[in-house]
């Protein structure tokens, strides 16, 4: 039998080591579907490595993919810290993108120095407002925010489709449901010539540092941690629990909205209904791999991005479905969940006599 004994607070090396081990196990497990698909396993891993790190182009592609993942990862990490289960980053991302396009595609004509901050702000605001409803429903009526945020993902995506086929449709788009292009002044700057890597990555890094400081150093962060770890005790100690949830909800939604801004104003230049290949859901995996630490989110997002980019590249080379990437990512989540036990408990394998598990 296995016995769990509560562990003293974990040391930093262990905090890092365990998610890394989980990621490696998930990668190793990926050999099973690869074999199923008839791939030469080592060759496939090699192709994935090259695809994500093999050239300057590959590396910048990986960083480009990481930008939205950092932001949706932060959205999940911040919300989960407060035990606010925001599973709606996907929808909030689209809301942010929609707002960015609405403001940035000709509605306002202004120089970039004004327009870019405005686009960024409106995208964040739209994402944040998307989270306001579920948060209020949770705090006022006790409606489970998991279900409402999940359902809102579908609603907002349909809303985006409606806008793209209706009022926001690009008349020059040859009939494709896509928005008018962003003005050049509204586009985030590119970071490297001839590469797709853009200013959204800088926004993501700043956001990660900002959320880190918020949680560690501020009264709001203190209150978020207290509410997340024990909302009853926090309420008893006079911490405004409802206000804290609303703050977290707005901020979490805003972070996901920023991911959408980066994708349209940094990368694509216009909005389509297939803007996100599930960045919102992958953000949850990023957050869990990072142990909900904002700085860890950056590392975890780079890892997940390299899997996506690497698998894409391998898929092109071998013809194997790139759903392999989603499979590896989902296995990484399950592995990191299980490995979390090794952080909280000493796991002992003992004789069949002892069967109790003790936990706090």
């Amino acid at each position: 039998m296995i016995r769990f004994e509560p562990r003293e607070p974990s040391s930093l090396p262990r905090l890092i080591l365990i998610p890394v081990a989980a990621a490696i196990v998930a990668l190793a497990l990926a050999a099973i579907p690869m074999l199923f698909a008839g791939l030469p396993v080592f060759n496939a891993y090699g192709l994935m490595m090259t695809g994500a790190f093999g050239s300057v182009f590959a590396f910048t592609e990986m960083l480009t993919r990481a930008a939205p993942l950092i932001l949706t990862g932060l959205a999940a990490a911040l919300a989960f810290r407060a035990k606010l289960w925001n599973i709606g980053a996907e929808g909030q991302l689209y809301a942010g993108a929609l707002a960015a396009v609405a403001v940035g595609s000709g509605m306002i004509d202004a120089p970039g120095i004004i327009l870019i901050p405005l686009v960024v702000f409106c995208g964040a605001l739209a994402g944040g407002l998307m989270m306001l409803g579920p948060t209020l429903l949770k705090t006022r009526l006790g409606v489970d925010e998991v279900v409402t945020t999940l359902l809102l993902n579908f609603i907002i995506l349909l809303f985006v489709q409606m806008m793209l086929e209706g009022p926001m449709k690009d008349p020059m788009g040859m009939g494709w449901p896509q928005s008018e292009p962003m003005l050049d002044e509204a586009m985030l700057p590119k970071l490297m010539a001839r590469m797709r890597i853009h200013g959204g990555l800088i926004i993501a890094f700043i956001a990660a540092i900002g959320i880190h400081l918020l949680l560690k150093r501020t009264v709001w962060g203190f209150e978020i941690r207290a509410v997340g770890e024990n909302a009853n005790a926090a309420r008893h100690a006079g911490i405004p629990v409802t206000a804290t949830f609303i703050r977290v909800g707005l901020l979490s939604g805003a972070l996901a909205g920023l991911a959408g801004v980066g994708e349209v104003a940094g990368l694509k230049g216009y909005l389509t209904a297939d803007l996100s290949p599930g960045f919102g859901y992958s953000g949850i995996v990023v957050a869990m791999l990072a142990g909900l630490s904002p700085l860890g989110v950056v590392i975890a997002a780079l890892f997940i991005a390299s899997i996506f980019v690497g698998a894409d590249s391998m898929s092109r080379a071998t013809g194997v479905s790139n759903y392999l990437a989603d499979l590896i990512v989902s296995m990484a989540l399950i592995c990191v969940l299980i490995s979390g036990l090794f952080l909280r408990f000493k796991v002992r394998f003992v004789g069949a006599k002892s069967t109790e598990g003790v936990s706090k």
């Binding site: 809102l152 409606m162 859901y281 598990g357």
Partner: protein
């Protein structure tokens, strides 16, 4: 107004409502038994997908329709077991584990489908379930035609409701499931295993959810498409709350939902030129949120829902 009444009074309409409700009935009942035992199963969306894919693929490979149903249930049970292990003995967050199972089941189903059928442009079709003709019943006015258009899986769904209600309220097993979702130590102090009860219930509930998915590929359609589950799992989670965790109310909730959906499809053909189609497509999700809000104040959650149990700790 009279148009609306006309829609509501046709047997065709109710046949459609029941057809739309069928996968939801499986899903809500599956989610309901899991939650009655104290485990929220957000793996449902992925389990639907896995059931749809596995059931379809089994039939495509030649197991026959009922063989496909069995395979779907087994696939559901497999992912349910993963969720059960993560949340019951390991006591991990039911929210995150459920999302993880959904991501895993979905991506695995897609990967297997894509790997088995790499180069098809239009999805291959199977010979799906046919509507059942029950002599006697089919001749009844109104009810006859409404039921007449249903396949065996719809009747299975109705049977599942009855059996679940019987098990929950009339048998010792049901008593234990209801108790373990309220206070696990009540169950352990009476010599029963909390872990076995919860894990068994989650596996069984997940198998039911997978049947909802199987209905999509083996009855509603005859092929597997990516994204075909399209939030039905999440809608079931909302309906579970709406149904106050009771099988009878779950049936009513699913039927109401199916009726509304069937109604708006018909309304769409009438007023579709004025209102964009997406508005109608949004309705199921909006309706689910509305249902949650409606019952929010009086929702009587199983007391031990989401709370992990560790032996020797009270």
């Amino acid at each position: 107004m009279s148009d609306i009444l006309e829609i509501l009074l046709t047997a065709n309409f109710w046949a459609a409502a029941l057809r739309i409700a069928t996968p939801l009935i499986f899903g809500v009942i599956g989610a309901l038994v899991c939650e009655r035992a104290g485990v929220l199963n957000l793996g449902i969306e992925g389990i639907f997908t896995a059931g749809a894919m596995a059931g379809w693929m089994a039939v495509w490979l030649g197991t026959g329709l009922w063989g496909g149903v069995l395979v779907a249930a087994l696939a559901g049970g497999f992912f349910g077991l993963i969720h059960a292990i993560l949340t019951v003995p390991l006591g991990l967050s039911q929210h995150v584990s459920g999302i993880g199972v959904t991501l895993f089941a979905t991506s695995l189903s897609y990967f297997i489908y894509r790997t088995a059928l790499p180069d098809v442009s239009s999805p291959p079709r199977i010979e799906a379930f046919k509507p059942l003709d029950i002599p006697g019943l089919s001749d009844l006015p109104f009810i006859g035609p409404a039921l007449f258009q249903q396949t065996a899986l719809t009747f299975l769904a109705l049977a599942v409701v009855a059996v679940t209600a019987f098990v929950l309220y009339r048998t010792p097993l049901g008593l234990a499931i209801r108790a373990v979702g309220d206070n696990p130590s009540a169950v352990e102090s009476q010599g029963l295993s909390v872990y076995a009860l919860r894990m068994g219930t989650v596996v069984a509930g997940s198998a039911l959810m997978a049947l909802g998915g199987a209905f999509l590929t083996m009855s509603a359609f005859d092929a597997f498409f990516f994204g075909m589950v399209n939030g039905r799992g999440w809608i079931c989670i909302a309906l579970t709350v709406f149904a106050s965790w009771r099988p009878g109310k779950a049936l009513i909730g699913a039927l109401l939902f199916g009726a509304f959906d069937a109604f708006q499809v018909r309304l769409q053909t009438e007023v579709g030129s004025f209102i964009p189609g997406q508005v109608f497509l949004m309705m199921p999700y909006i309706l689910s949120i509305a249902a949650l809000i409606l019952v929010a104040r009086k929702a009587d959650y199983p007391r031990a829902l989401l709370v992990p149990y560790f032996r020797g700790q009270r």
